[in-house]
Amino acid sequence: MRFIAGLAAVICAVNLVIGKTFAWLSLAIVAVCFTVVVQRYLFAISHVWMQDLYIWLNGAMFTAVAGFALLRDDHVRVDIFYRPAKMRTKALSDLLGVFLFLLPFTWVVYTYSMPFVQRAWGYHEASANVGGMPGLFILKTFIIAFAVMISLQGVAMAIRSILVLSGNAALVPKSIQYGPDRGPDHPQGAV
């Protein structure tokens, strides 16, 4: 049990670092897009690669941060029954969800995206726009990263469920412990 708890802790640590790092891309999106606007409207210059860049940064950001968002439980749930449920019930629901829904989904994404991504690497695919960004193959790789990070976090969730159901709730890594209602400090779900 300690071993799997440690594994979950490592997964969480990885997603925390990735999430907190890639979140800064949102500031980069603002900066690049604003620069494009200033260049276009004030100086009548434009660079196709910059127009690609801020769009791509969004793609990189939302895929890279997805595992971190799952860790923080930011992915919206229909929680009519889930929220008021006992911790064991939540653990059971999460366990089922990971194996029935999450892992099959990431497996399909991984399986069908791998050839697509490998091909892009094969010819170092660049933007379809002439004069655009190089490195589209790197952006495509984020689809794989997304599947992997989400799967790993799913495994961490499954471990949490197993620990809770086996009476070892105390071993669950702190960052993903089931708490009381999370209250107002994370008004994330509704956009």
Partner: protein, 336 residues
């Protein structure tokens, strides 16, 4: 062997004049010619995948065919631009001759082999219109800083001429022109441009496009699945594409002038020719762009560029010595 259904994804909207219509007709003709043994189901732009992902859909096996233009995939190989058309490139009959008789198809096959697909010519828009400009152009100077919509290698040429170039999808051009985000835009030619309503916001219609002459469309098939077909079905796909290439070309030749007449007579559009210095600078910039491809590190790109230039230098002698004097004379002397 039972009946087969193939999925065709297109980069065009459904029923789009000339091109979308051609894709659907091509599919229907394969279905009919095979007596239903090979049914082709068309999914137009965005129905199954985003339009510019059509080729990937075939490579990844979620469709067996795609109908589009090879230059959309120039990021897979810059040489693919040649199989649609390049700045100051070939006219429709010249391009057809290069691909069918002067080594073009073989090079095209070699490029697409890397992706497990095969391309066939499937249509041609003919020489396109140069673009819709809000203001009249008097010289090359007028292009400085002008915001112009045009895609691909043609965009590079226009950049060299001093324009600020952006690419945007067909559906967005009208609004961008209207709001002033764009000063000018080109799309295809009268047949399509009339449909998209550009005449409402810009009245100066410049002819011809020196960056998009004789633009060909392609039919791409999954090569492995194609080769597994019985040989009569393979022949049907190949020959229907060839027949459709001519149908689409004639469609544009017949309907472009009709549309142009409507534009001029009913909508007050003024048809203009680009000033000579723009045409000349355009040629110089086009040579620079093509030379970059000739100097590519990729041997296949280099080889394709050289084959193209060699073929162009050959076929242009016929066009320039026989066709051009004839059309010039006809324009000058013939009256009905």
């Amino acid at each position: 062997q039972g009946n087969i259904t193939w999925r065709m994804v297109t980069t065009w909207p459904k029923n789009f004049p000339g091109l979308g219509v051609g894709a659907q007709r091509l599919a229907d003709r394969i279905t009919a010619a095979s007596g239903g043994r090979l049914t082709v189901q068309v999914y137009s732009a965005g129905e199954l995948v985003p339009p510019l992902q059509a080729l990937d859909a075939v490579i990844d096996g979620s469709a067996e065919m795609s109908h589009g233009a090879a230059y959309y995939w120039q990021n897979k190989s810059p040489a693919l631009s040649f199989f649609t058309g390049v700045p100051y490139g070939m006219t429709t009959p010249e391009l057809t001759a290069w691909i069918r008789f002067l080594g073009g198809q073989e090079l095209w096959d070699e490029i697409y082999d890397q992706f497990g697909v095969q391309g066939f010519l499937s249509g041609n828009t003919g020489t396109q219109a140069g673009g819709w400009f809000r203001d009249e152009l008097t010289s090359l100077e007028d292009l400085k800083g002008i915001r112009f919509r045009t895609p691909g290698l043609g965009g590079r040429v226009w950049e060299k001429l001093g324009a600020t170039v952006t690419n945007m999808a067909a559906g967005e051009i009208f609004q961008a022109l209207q709001s002033g985000t764009l000063d000018a835009a080109e799309f295809v030619g009268p047949y399509n441009d009339l449909a998209l309503g550009f005449y409402q916001v810009a009245k100066n219609y410049y002819m011809p496009s020196f960056v998009e002459s004789g633009l060909a469309t392609e039919l791409v098939v999954d090569k492995k699945k194609y080769q597994e077909l019985p040989s009569d079905l393979q022949a049907i796909i190949r020959d229907v594409s060839q027949a459709e290439y001519d149908m689409v070309s004639s469609d544009f030749i017949a309907n472009d002038p009709r549309a142009l007449k409507t534009l001029v007579d009913d909508h007050g559009v003024i048809v203009r020719q680009f000033p000579d210095d723009i045409m000349e600078a355009g040629a110089k910039a086009s040579v620079e762009v093509i030379e970059e491809l000739r100097n590519s590190d990729d041997p296949l790109v280099k080889k394709t560029t050289e084959s193209f230039i060699e073929a162009l230098n050959l076929v242009r002698t016929r066009t320039e010595q026989i066709d051009a004097p004839y059309t010039a004379a006809r324009e000058k002397y013939l009256k009905y």
